[in-house]
């Protein structure tokens, strides 16, 4: 296959993945509303297949450009979307066995990819000398993995936690709609995070509990479940992000002769890091747990997006070469 051939394969596979995610997103939202097992099964399968297509797209892109496939913002976006979907499939759907959140995650992935293909697309090209270093494998990979996990944990899961928490608070005020508080307790006590919503939506007895408590016919998993899942994902992401910043500093020392120069990219990576450090501390501080900590996580996600889109395209800095 020629270089142009690989480039074509990459673009086609990207489109297949994009439309696959789009279709699966519709399926997941349908499942969220109507709980038809078969719809979920199809949506999940389509997501896996689309992820496969996207991996093909990324590998082909690397072959077309004859280098690592994360050398510019378009490629970075594709990797980000793929890793967000992959971490969703592993963390949320496979390990925590929660099925209702796929639509939200895929919405993020579809948006990221749509922006990438319409505004950020550039053809495969060799790396400029500034990027041509083995640190691009270490620093950039860590940054993308960290970003994907923060997007999942600090963005999607935390937003959904805030929504679920709001509903449960509203529910608590009206006693007849039972289960708000019970769901919370179940979430805190359950063994693994399996207490989500994998059971049929109507009355579910609490697993092994002394007396079956009718569970809220909730659209989303219990707020406590979402909160813990978001926390775990962020706690997983934080050391990776820390490592990405450190690796970036080492690369900066090697390329520019200083490990830190408050370049806009460095500054915003620092902001993201500081905000999530704040989040982790907030969770162990009385009066900041729960909603306040979640708001901090959302601010961190916003900072991540600014770091990603605004800094690369609008602000003038040393990282601008990686741009469009």
């Amino acid at each position: 296959v020629s270089l142009e051939g690989w480039a074509r394969i990459s673009n086609d596979a990207f489109n297949v993945a994009l439309f696959g995610y789009l279709a699966a997103m519709v399926g997941y939202f349908h499942y969220l509303a109507f709980r038809r097992e078969a719809v979920w099964r199809v949506a999940s399968t389509v997501t896996w297949l689309a992820l496969g297509a996207q991996i093909v797209s990324i590998v082909a892109r690397g072959l077309a450009a004859e280098r690592v496939p994360w050398g510019n913002l378009y490629e970075y976006s594709s990797m980000l979307a793929a890793l967000t979907v992959a971490s969703y499939l592993v963390i949320v759907e496979w390990r925590a066995k929660i099925r209702t959140l796929g639509g939200f995650v895929l919405a993020f992935a579809v948006l990221t990819m749509a922006v990438a293909v319409s505004f950020l697309y550039v053809g495969p090209a060799p790396l400029v000398p500034a990027l041509n270093s083995y640190w691009i494998r270490i620093h950039v990979v860590a940054a993308i993995v960290g970003s994907a996990l923060l997007a999942l944990g600090g963005g999607v899961l935390t937003s959904l936690y805030l929504v679920a928490d709001r509903r449960e608070r509203a529910g608590k005020a009206v006693p007849p709609i039972a289960g708000g508080a019970a769901g919370l307790d179940a979430g805190l006590d359950a063994g693994e995070v399996t207490d989500g919503d994998d059971a049929p939506p109507d009355l579910v007895p609490d697993e092994g509990g002394p007396d079956p408590v009718p569970r809220r016919r909730g659209v989303l998993p219990a707020a406590a479940t979402l909160d813990r899942l978001a926390y775990r994902t962020i706690a997983f992401a934080f050391p990776i992000w820390t490592f990405a910043v450190i690796a970036g500093a080492i690369w900066a020392q090697e390329a520019w002769g200083r490990y830190w120069g408050w370049d806009p990219k460095e500054t915003w990576s620092f902001i993201v890091w500081v905000v999530y450090a704040g989040y982790l501390h907030a969770r162990s501080t009385a009066g900041w747990r729960g909603r306040r900590a979640a708001v901090i996580a959302l601010i961190g996600f916003a900072a991540l997006m600014v770091n990603y889109y605004v800094v690369n395209t609008v602000v003038d800095g040393l990282h601008s070469y990686s741009g469009v």
């Binding site: 090209a125 060799p126 400029v128 000398p129 500034a130 041509n132 270093s133 640190w135 006590d189 359950a190 063994g191 693994e192 092994g208 706690a235 934080f238 050391p239 820390t242 490592f243 450190i246 500093a249 080492i250 690369w251 020392q253 090697e254 390329a255 520019w256 002769g257 200083r258 490990y259 120069g261 408050w262 370049d263 806009p264 500054t267 915003w268 620092f270 902001i271 500081v274 905000v275 450090a277 704040g278 982790l280 501390h281 907030a282 162990s284 501080t285 009066g287 900041w288 901090i296 900072a303 800094v311 602000v315 003038d316 800095g317």
Partner: protein, 524 residues
């Protein structure tokens, strides 16, 4: 009171968020260390706003007194928090786990029948817990066992936080005792590392003792290569480096992402440019000779920087009256021709192909230049004295601009006509020269931060107690097991179940007993 509030997590949290907020300002407002030209422009366009910003330190957020105050406060708050925690950890690590009174009140509790007498059963529990890396205490070889695990969590957290003080030390040592400057060296020339040779492009740390190295950098060759599309492929300076005490010279290739080093200095490829070789003669007497470093013209929007010409200046202060020349260099004549036709730079000049110089001559008192720069004349106090064009290999008369060849050239040299020859073109390279002795401290701090972070986030503190009580009538005993975890409670409940299962089995770790594998002792 102040002390206590400084120690509280809330204060630290708020300080962290305020630092984040200040950094936002620092990333959107142009910063003096990164973009001094933008700030000069801001001062011209919005003088009032700029003065206010400047007074508030917003043009140098990260060097401003209030940013320093913020992170010093954060560090003080951190230290105030870490000292008692560290003391407590040390106390904790020295002390042995203490027995508890009532075990059945704990979140996890189980009772297990055992065949042996209490002391032997307790001993078995002790061995089992030891094998699982618990710290175990069985006072006086009795029937009580107290165990705990997970000091690594607190130790990791403390290591992580203390490491930031190491970061501060690394910055102070490195930046304080170090320096950073730029060496501008033309191909074929040498440069010695000494204060005067930086031409003012040197920043030294507060505690720098003036111990420049005297290292010698001779640039043999600079090469910039591009792809067809004008995308740069490689910038490389080949240099011979000799240390200040006169050791053996080494030849190094310095490129982006691949610095050179000599005498504890790091050399980074920073920039480069053209340096036409010029010779000015009055008759046969040489007035000035050698390569003159040029700078790239400002790059208009939408034009490749490879397409714009370069400018440079040559001052001749020994002439009477004094003279000076302002040049514009087109490294490729073809690009100049295209420019004259389209009035827009378009052809990329990736290498020199019959370069041409366009010059304007001036005369007058060179001391009247108010803002001299090496590549640009300040011509306000000077008189124009002709202009012209000269190609590589040519000689011209600076009196009337005509090209001199053959007999005319001979006549000019024999008389006392002012002539200029464009004998060749070289490149110069700009190397950033840096000494930072804190790098190893920074690297150590970075590693410690990561090493501390992992146990701080992923391990948990948990405690287990076992008490063996004699069983009535059998000669055996009953093991009462209680425990709890402070973090990661779900994982602990599984761990506790496994522990109970293995205690029940009597001979732990000899393979799984399928009948007992699913037996669970739930929380009360």
């Amino acid at each position: 009171m102040v002390w206590r509030s400084l120690r509280s997590m809330r204060t630290a949290l708020i300080l962290l968020l305020v630092i984040a907020l200040a950094s936002v300002a620092g990333s959107f407002i142009p910063q003096r260390p990164n973009s001094p030209l933008r700030i000069a422009q801001d001062f011209r366009e919005h003088p009032l706003r700029s003065r206010i910003f400047d007074a508030l330190g917003l043009f140098d957020v990260f060097g401003s007194w209030w940013f320093t105050l913020l992170y010093v406060l954060l560090l003080v708050s951190l230290g105030a928090c870490l000292f008692p925690r560290t003391r407590a950890l040390i106390r904790n690590a020295r002390a042995r786990p203490q027995p508890a009174r009532e075990l059945d009140g704990f979140r996890h509790f189980a009772e297990i029948p055992a065949g042996e007498p209490p002391a032997a059963a307790a001993r078995r529990a002790q061995d089992l817990l030891r094998r699982r890396w618990f710290r175990v205490n069985r006072p006086e070889g009795g029937a009580e066992v107290a165990a705990d695990k997970g000091l690594a969590r607190e130790a990791g957290s403390l290591l992580f936080h203390w490491s930031f003080f190491l970061v501060m030390i690394g910055i102070l040592v490195g930046k304080g005792t170090g320096f950073s400057g730029f060496a501008v060296i033309t191909e074929g020339q040498c440069w010695v590392e000494a204060e005067a040779n930086y031409d003012g492009n040197l920043r030294v740390g507060r505690y720098f003792g003036g111990d420049h190295t005297g290292a010698r950098i001779c640039v043999d060759d600079f090469e910039d290569t591009y792809r067809q599309s004008g995308i740069p492929m490689d910038f490389v300076t080949r240099a011979t480096l000799t240390s200040g005490d006169g050791g053996d010279p080494t030849t190094q290739e310095i490129r982006l992402n691949d610095p050179g080093s000599v005498d504890g200095l790091n050399l980074y490829q920073f920039a480069f440019g053209w340096a036409p070789e010029l010779r000015v003669r009055l008759g046969e007497r040489v007035i000035a000779e050698g390569p003159v470093q040029f700078e790239r013209d400002p790059v208009p929007e939408g034009v490749s920087e490879l397409a714009v010409p370069w400018h440079g200046a040559l001052r001749l202060p020994t002439l009477q009256p004094q003279r000076a020349l302002q040049f514009s260099l087109w490294p490729s004549a073809a690009a100049f021709v295209t420019f004259r036709q389209t009035l827009r730079p378009g052809v990329m000049m990736t290498e020199a192909e019959s370069p041409i110089l366009i010059y304007e001559a001036f005369e007058g008192d060179l001391a009247s230049e108010l803002r001299p720069s090496f590549s640009e004349l300040d011509t306000r106090g000077l008189r124009a004295a002709g202009d012209g064009v000269i190609g590589e290999g040519q000689t011209i008369s600076l009196e009337d601009g005509r090209t001199l060849e053959g007999a005319a050239l001979r006549r000019a040299l024999e008389g006392d006509e002012l002539t200029m020859s464009f004998t060749g073109i070289r490149q110069y390279t700009v190397l950033q020269v840096t000494r930072d002795r804190g790098l190893w401290i920074m690297l150590a701090a970075a590693i410690l931060i990561l090493v501390g972070l992992l146990p701080a986030l992923y391990t948990s503190r948990r405690r287990v107690w076992v008490r063996a009580e004699p069983a009535s009538g059998t000669g055996g005993s009953v093991l009462k097991v209680g425990g709890f975890a402070l973090q990661r409670t779900t994982q602990f409940s599984e761990e506790f179940d496994r522990l109970v299962r293995d205690l029940r089995r009597g001979t732990p770790d000899r393979g799984v007993d399928p009948d007992r594998a699913d037996e669970r002792v739930g929380a009360p």
